[in-house]
Amino acid sequence: MSKEETPQVTRRTTRLSATHTPNAIQSPTKSINLPPLSLHNLVYGEQQEPLTFDDLISSLPGRKNQIFDLLRLLGPVNSPMSPMFVYGSASTGKTSTILRVFRYLNRPFVYSSCRTCYNARQLFDNILNQLLLHRKSENNGYSSAKKCEKPADFVNLLKEALVGVVDGLKRSSSSKKLNGCVNGSMVYLIFDSLELVRDWDKSGTILPLLFKLHDVLKVNDVGLIFISSSSLDTYHSETGFVDPISVYFPDYTEEGLRQIFMRNQANPKLRSAFLDVVLKPFCRVTRRLDELSTALSPLFKKYCEPLDDLNVIPDEETKRKLFSCLQPHIGPALNEILGVTSQSSVEAGIKNNLKRKGGLKKFGNDSIDDIDFHMSTSAKYLLVSAFLASRNPATLDASFFDSTGGSANQKKRRKTSEKSKDLKEASEQELFMKGPGTFPLERLLAIFQCIASSDEYSLENDEDPQETTGLGGDFGENNLMSDILLQVSSLCNANFITKGGSCPLEGSTRYRSTISEDLALKVARSLKFPLSKYLYRR
């Protein structure tokens, strides 16, 4: 089968590549050929020193019970098992534990993650390739062993492949060829991150198929293991399925986390002192291992900074000192989800950048540089007007933007503030729900013109008189007015304005500004534009 398909595939690739790029054909001289796969490769990390049970337990702190459950359910060698469903929230060590256990047991398995195999076809190909010991390489044009789109073909092919593999295993174990290296003749199929499959097909045929695969195959020498981040009751299916036996991985407890963070540390005393200080507050926020470790590792560096040698055994005094050094950093770290480190030289650059700003403060230009990216003036006006259009109800535009804008909306505001309270709350609730309102392009442009023209006036009279004839006046005017639509599009690209759904009445697309209020205020300040005066407060 594969023999009859490979040539055709290679032909196709060459043809496409020829159309794509002239230098398409890689020089095969440079490439090394990968060794062919054998049954050994079905075992985790072949030719490795065997893992003792104690190593297994110690290498996975806080997962003792789960390991025991897994071992029990997997049972002794060559014993059939009913499908297993391993669940628990993200980064609770599901995958690593199972892989570890299989390495300990040295049993052949086929792992395929539904994250990497992002649709049904990829999943099928992946499983079949592993079972058929097929490896994508340059020689076969990176093609997969079998072509199968439909689940029906998949089941047939899978059955063939499984039978083949199991026979091979039986033969080899009987002939003692790879004894001790591949253990038993059961093959286990592991499906990782199964929760993603729910989003694959809305018709929902794949998921029931996977759950019933054991019954459909009727091969006794295969074990199915599903790994999911959400529990069984979230897998809805109209006809339902026989539940697999579930194993639950709870989140790590604080002790478990401490053990994990204490692993292979140069200076355990210091580390434990650090963890005493830090671990508790952080666990109040999240107990996810990955998030904690990303948050803690920079903190630990900071913690160690005052020390000259890292092997010192900290006594109470030093602990207190170190803690006092660390204290200011903890709060920010708690409230940060993405700590961006920056390279040293650049860091310096930024520093003196800030220094300059400080210098500017002396001259009193606070507004300068509050927004540290470049925007043209018209874009800024557009942004501000978009913000206004999203925040203010459209009915009040007239009262805000007439000639006597300020005073009028003073009145307006007082009136609204006298409105009854529940109405206010309702509107607030509505704001919370719908977020910033949408507006048609016309309204945006109208507001923009009001704002910009009021500013153009101030612009003209500080350009010098001769210039106003040539460059000021109408020049400035249509200078700001021209290619506004370009500006709108570039604002959309910068995610400051998003295209909302189209309005039900006329088909025009509506926009919505997603910027936060303080950013808008910054921009307005940099324009010396009294934003708060125009903003409608509920």
């Binding site: 794509h20 090394i32 990176y142 480190t341 612009l459 290619d483």
Partner: protein, 708 residues
């Protein structure tokens, strides 16, 4: 002119303007001879030895080619300089990024190379919790306009590739929600494998990596504009990579347009966990612009300069309209084109201002007719002879002074853009010479730098330069020392200034020679004379500005090299197509000159108007939703009332167009009226002024017309 048009067409980024501005070009046709004749008038009455028209025309014919040639190599020169400047600006950032890439690749490899089977296996290799993180660089462009940095990222890709990395330049097109994760994987594989594969599967990448180099070089993926990517797809991509992170050493480089907040807002928190980010900053657009101005306009690299108004215009474009270098460069190019088109004498500019040209070459005789040398006192002949060299050194003086000023201004973030603009102003120059430069405390602190806010400061009082000079006073000695060094560098080759700077430095040096340990009296004294020193520096720069900073427009013969016509440039650049179209539609009578319509003011609809413009005039009466039926009725009413009108107008001025109508007035049947109506509506739609009826509102068209 024809050649000029070819120039327009030949070049891509000019095309739209060419298309838009046929009209203005024709105006050029119309206006240019006028300008010349006026000048000729002067000639005739000023000097007896004036060339006659046809000889001059002949000359023009002769010089046209040389002018085009000049234009070409001038432009080539400028282009190359710009490229170099940008390259130099980016160079160090690129090197930093490269170093970072190598470092993080080392960090990845430190976890130990995997053997081929392990590296291509399907299960993740988890050694540690933090080990499944992807090294990521956020390259902050700090400009919401993305155009300038496309090239930058391409260069970055080349740069890294030259250091052996396997590159893939992806953009937001690959991360569209429609094509999904498969799309970006496919294009990634296509770029790295140099050939397409049937299925987009990341395990292919793994085996390819093992085949072609195992753990010699990293795989670097550049995503140019992260802000535009579809959030979910990007997150999925990152999560998928994180499963292969040790097996394939992938390093991400994400271009962030605005702020570092953007990634957090876009990516899901799951994906964010898998990034170990670090940030890099590309040059701020204003800094880049300063560099370009310095290289191109301040240090005249090609015999072409711009006048004050043009400079102001370009500056305004950058600050107010779209702050992209691309548009700036486009403006400069436009200016050059027009200069060489309109200035008859510009053929002599050939290599005027570069070093290798001998002093010998003189201005042509016609140069004498230029208005700028009308007021020349000295005898014309040697003015002609020495004109070039004089101009050259004046310009050098000017540029060096401006650069010195910029050096002062730098540490207060004064942009060269503004300095340049101000230094070009002839009125300021005259003002300065009638000296009251010092005595002016600036009122209400104007936002003199970062003028991207568009709040242009009171320039007519030269606030910026005087303030910059005042800053020298309160400089600390160390800063002053650096400043003087910089001046020394800047004024290389300009002797008259260089000497002064030298002696200033000498004084400063013996100040510094005094032993560091001293009594406070001495320190006071030292402070005193350091103050004195700064005073001196201030005085020096002041007199430099007063004497040597002579704007180009105050130099005789400047018309030859200097382009001043800002209006034309604006007309060429800031085309307002929609407005144009609407105006033309509303007063079509100006274009098709038929007698009947001209008499009327343009907004009363008449039957003899062209259908489309008639329709559009009628449309003015409606809101932005036009009921088709009403519209059609009014249209038909107008075109059918002709017969009545034409009766008594035909005797006034019979024009063929109207006679056609009067001949068979009853020809306007329902059918033909509808046909004309439909055609007109379609034309309006094609010109983009209408949107056709939607499903929901069958009988309404919508006006999509702005700018009026």
């Amino acid at each position: 002119m024809a050649t000029a048009d070819e120039v327009h067409i030949s070049d891509n980024d000019l095309k739209p303007f060419f298309v838009l501005h046929k009209a203005s070009n024709s105006q050029q046709h119309a206006r240019k001879p006028v300008g010349r004749t006026s000048r000729k008038v002067k000639v005739n009455l000023s000097s007896s030895l004036a060339a006659s028209d046809e000889s001059q025309l002949l000359d023009d014919q002769l010089h046209k080619n040389s002018r085009m040639k000049n234009f070409h190599d001038a432009w080539v020169k400028i282009e190359s300089t710009i490229k170099d400047v940008l390259h130099n600006i980016n160079a160090d950032v690129f090197n930093e990024i490269n170093g970072w890439v190598q470092k993080s690749f080392g960090a990845i490899c430190s976890s130990g190379k995997l053997d081929t089977n392990k590296a291509t296996c399907s299960y993740p290799i988890v050694t540690d919790v933090t080990s499944n993180q992807i090294f990521t660089a956020f390259v902050v462009m700090s400009n919401i306009e993305f155009v300038d940095d496309l090239q930058t990222f391409a260069d970055l890709g080349v740069h890294l590739q030259s250091h052996g990395c396997h590159m893939a330049n992806l953009s937001s097109v690959d991360f569209s929600a429609k094509s999904g994760i498969g799309g970006c994987l496919r294009s990634l594989l296509r770029q790295i494998l140099n050939g397409s594969t049937d299925a987009a599967d990341i395990s292919i990448l793994a085996s390819w990596y093992m085949e072609h180099d195992n753990y010699k070089n990293p795989v670097v993926v550049i995503i140019e504009d992260m802000d535009r990517c579809s959030a979910s797809v990007l997150s999925d991509f990152i999560l998928m990579l994180s499963e292969w992170v040790i097996k394939i050493p992938v390093i991400l480089i994400l271009g962030v347009a605005t702020t570092l907040e953007a990634p957090k807002n876009i990516l899901s928190s799951k994906a964010v966990q898998h990034l170990s980010p670090s940030k890099f900053f590309l040059g701020h657009p204003t800094d880049r612009l300063d560099a370009i101005i310095e290289a191109v306009l301040v240090k005249p690299c090609s015999g072409f300069l711009v006048g004050h108004k043009v400079a102001a215009f370009i500056r305004n474009c950058f600050l107010r309209q779209d702050g992209t270098l691309t548009s700036f460069v486009r403006a400069v190019k436009m200016a050059i084109v027009q200069h060489f088109l309109m200035e008859p004498l510009s053929f002599t500019v050939k290599g005027l201002l570069d070093e290798e040209v001998a002093e010998a070459d003189a201005w042509p005789r016609q140069a004498l007719d230029l208005p700028s040398c009308m007021r020349l006192s000295e005898p014309k002949s040697e003015a002609l002879l020495s004109g070039a060299s004089q101009m050259k050194e004046v310009l050098n003086l000017w540029s060096s002074v401006v650069l010195c000023l910029h050096e002062v201004g730098k540490n207060q973030r004064t942009t060269l853009l503004d300095l340049y603009d101000e230094a070009l102003d002839p009125k300021l120059y005259n003002l300065r010479n009638s000296d009251h430069l010092e005595v002016k405390p600036d009122p209400q602190r104007p936002s003199w730098n970062y003028d991207m806010h568009g709040q242009s400061f009171e320039r007519q009082k030269g606030g910026l330069i005087s303030r910059t000079i005042r800053q020298i006073r309160d400089l600390p000695p160390a800063a002053l020392h650096q400043l003087l060094e910089k001046w020394d560098k800047q004024t290389e080759g300009v002797d008259m200034i260089h000497e002064k700077v030298k002696e200033l430095r000498l004084q400063e040096d013996d100040n510094l020679k005094e032993p560091p340990t001293r009594s406070r009296k001495q320190t006071i004294r030292n402070n005193g004379n350091s103050d004195k020193l700064s005073e001196k520096a201030a005085a020096l720069i002041t007199c430099m500005t007063r004497e040597h900073m002579q704007p180009i427009e105050c130099i005789p013969f400047h018309e030859i090299v200097c382009f001043r016509n800002a209006d034309k440039l604006q007309a060429a650049l800031v085309g307002d197509p929609r407005k144009r179209i609407q105006l033309d539609l509303l007063e079509c009578n100006k274009f098709l000159k038929c007698s009947c319509c001209c008499t009327k003011s343009h907004n009363v609809p008449i039957s003899s108007m062209h259908d489309t413009s008639l329709m559009y005039t009628l449309a003015q009466e409606h809101g932005n939703l036009i009921n088709l039926h009403d519209w059609y009725q009014s249209f038909k009413a107008v075109i059918s009332q002709t017969t009545v009108k034409d009766k008594h107008k035909s005797k006034v001025s019979p024009s063929p167009k109207k006679r056609k109508i009067t001949a068979q007035p009853q020809i306007i049947t329902e059918a033909s009226a509808q046909a004309r109506f439909c055609r007109a509506v379609t034309e309006l739609q094609i010109t983009g002024l209408l949107r056709m009826p939607s499903k929901r509102r069958q009988d309404y068209v919508q006006r999509v017309a702005f700018g009026l």
